[in-house]
Symmetry: C2
Subunit: 473 residues, 2 copies
Amino acid sequence: MAITKPGSIAPLDPTAATPFYRQIYDRVRGAIASGVLKPGDRIPSARALTQELGLARGTIEAAYSLLAAEGYIQSRGQAGTIVTPDLKPQAPAPDPAPRSARAIAPVSFRPDSILPFQMGLPALDAFPRKIWARLGARCVRAMQPADMVHPSVYGLPPLRSEIAAYLQVSRGINCSPSQIFVTSGYRTTIELIAHALLQAGDRVWLETPGYPPTREIFGHMRIATVPVPVDRHGMVVSEGIKLAPRASAAVVTPAHQSPLCVSLSLPRRMTLLDWAARNNAWIIEDDYDGEYRYVSRPLPALKSLDREGRVLYAGTFSKVLFPGLRLAYLVVPEAQVERFEEVGDTFAGGSPELTQAIVTAFIREGHFARHIQRMRKLYGERRDATAAGLESVLKQHVRIDAQPGGMHLILRLQGKQSDRRLVARMREAGLYAEALTDWTTEGEGASALLVNFTNVDSQGTAEKLGKRMLKLM
Amino acid sequence: MAITKPGSIAPLDPTAATPFYRQIYDRVRGAIASGVLKPGDRIPSARALTQELGLARGTIEAAYSLLAAEGYIQSRGQAGTIVTPDLKPQAPAPDPAPRSARAIAPVSFRPDSILPFQMGLPALDAFPRKIWARLGARCVRAMQPADMVHPSVYGLPPLRSEIAAYLQVSRGINCSPSQIFVTSGYRTTIELIAHALLQAGDRVWLETPGYPPTREIFGHMRIATVPVPVDRHGMVVSEGIKLAPRASAAVVTPAHQSPLCVSLSLPRRMTLLDWAARNNAWIIEDDYDGEYRYVSRPLPALKSLDREGRVLYAGTFSKVLFPGLRLAYLVVPEAQVERFEEVGDTFAGGSPELTQAIVTAFIREGHFARHIQRMRKLYGERRDATAAGLESVLKQHVRIDAQPGGMHLILRLQGKQSDRRLVARMREAGLYAEALTDWTTEGEGASALLVNFTNVDSQGTAEKLGKRMLKLM
């Protein structure tokens, strides 16, 4: 059945479950896997195959473009199409000519690699995947015709209820489900806020150092950003008031400042709320990992102190579940619900019904609360192990900021080492880190590395990683 | 275990899998279901229960807010909290006090109802749900840690490849996977285009009548829209050139004009492409249901004629799979790939890995092509049956446009009947329709109803629905 040489291909099966282009694709891939076609071999041109098989040219081209996109074949223009010369044999070899859907191996979508210290990731090894798979399979099997229509763009009602209940218990936020808007990530949340409450030309305070994408989104929407410094009590609110007293909004990360991990002090929280109330300004609270505090109890959210309805609370499931979910949410003040419904009707794409159903079941059945408890403990241990491991190896080269929360460590580089250059060398060596200077507005400030500890499983691993870093310093 | 009267609640179980607030919620719900608590009964105040159980006030409030959100209880302010007076008994009664996650019934998320003739929906009864559930369960079980990271914001590579191959075969579009950007719906697609290629103050041609949300999105982004009329050959391109020769873009629905279902003629396609090339304008091709043509073969997409790289092709899985997926895509000209990657990095939330994995498997294993084939046949039959059924009952009251494609019929109202008023009466009577005048810029134009036929299962059903309509005319 496999293609053996140009000009000899068995007829395709018009009764098969798989369309023609896929049958051709499968045959070529099968012939390569079985060694019938070898790297560098020439395969029939799309035109020749079109004539031979009596199919539409587009069918052959679809098969070939798929094979080319996946790296199996290469077009050499006039010289014809060949099997990719440096193609590595794959193990296990795919079924050379699957006849039914069941014979095809499950599709895998993994990125090339996850690097040690990679930022923004929870502990991927500790996620309860079995429970998740059980709930997921149950939800997908339970799908009825009525579940297939466009879900509410504000979010599935039961998920909104679960989030409201969770925020009450965990973050001290008192809100009704109608104040919750489900989004497909932090960026979508910020965009929704900007569409609803801000205008081109407005000014917004941003922490510096601070999460770079926030600046990019506002920049693109022609909203001016005012960098406000951060010290060990969080954003220096008085400085914001000095720099831009009439700003329309302030974005803050009160639980663990992103990236310095310090908490916004209570006096500053009160000053910020007072400023917002007096100026009709908005406070956007980015609570990306407020759950993760290891020394004492998590601090209540700034939103829990919001008596005047000025705080928009941005939460996400990326850190407490996983980023591949693309699920986040926004809590808006009660008086703004109508405005956000209006803007949501125009802009919100909405999150798939299935994703929301699985997360709802996960919360409702208690797995969510249990998972966060377990991660809080695990991250406390991994934080200590990573700090101890790196310190024992890197000694006088770094000073490690010991903050009570967050998911990464800050390694302050001693001497004149450039964080950006070290980060570049680390990436080349297969290690991840981010440079603190890349998180500041002008690239000024202290030289330090941000390294995520949630996937470092022991002090021994941290020592090994530290030794690899040491060679690059 | 159930709450029997204020002041007598058994201690909660701190070792249980379910958190306290959920245990309280379960007990109250269980007590209502079993009849221990009856509609109108008073239940303990949050404060009383807080004291009695020695729990945080927030825990009780979380349980109560969930119960209130789901309609079980109502707060009467000073008069206390009561079981909702007109609460209907539910069948089957939920387990009064589930002890483990498994005892909780699967969560259902159905909207209150799907109305007959509801627009924008494919045939929900004919979707291969069993195959879908099998693939979905397989994908969710196959999830590995590396699949949990943020998927590419442009879309999963294998899905982009499958879409490129499909468009080649089905719509005659020649593109590489890198030109495909996966989005979470048509609105997100339009927004991405606007961010990448348009600016506030630009002008864009829109068909009138035309899909109302397009106008809303541009309006909100301060992009001016120029209504261009539609006749039986589609958008009157010459009129667009007369009205706004220097517009930045034109949005068209060439396959089946939305909502008139006519096709854009070949001469007009050529004129439009020529105008765009000469003016460096963009053509946004909204191909929401190009697959569904019942008389001859589907027409190739306008994009297939695009030699100058001016056409942005907006496709969606909402109509060929189902809207609850929230999955659409955009094909951009090769020269614009870099620009869209840059904007995508800032704005795209991305679609969940799981959704994309299921759709990839569904296409790859041939179910997608087969489903479209089956639906094309089914919709042809349902279109004819619906038209025949309605015509036999409504006779001289309507004239039905017989177009060769699309998913809805256009019932032109004879006499002075207002489509808007009739639509309002139909909604009250539990029937769906949209008024053609609501799809025009100024609410001018012919009085007609748009009714979706894909969920009307027989001529008999159509006759019954027609009789209900007749009473409202």
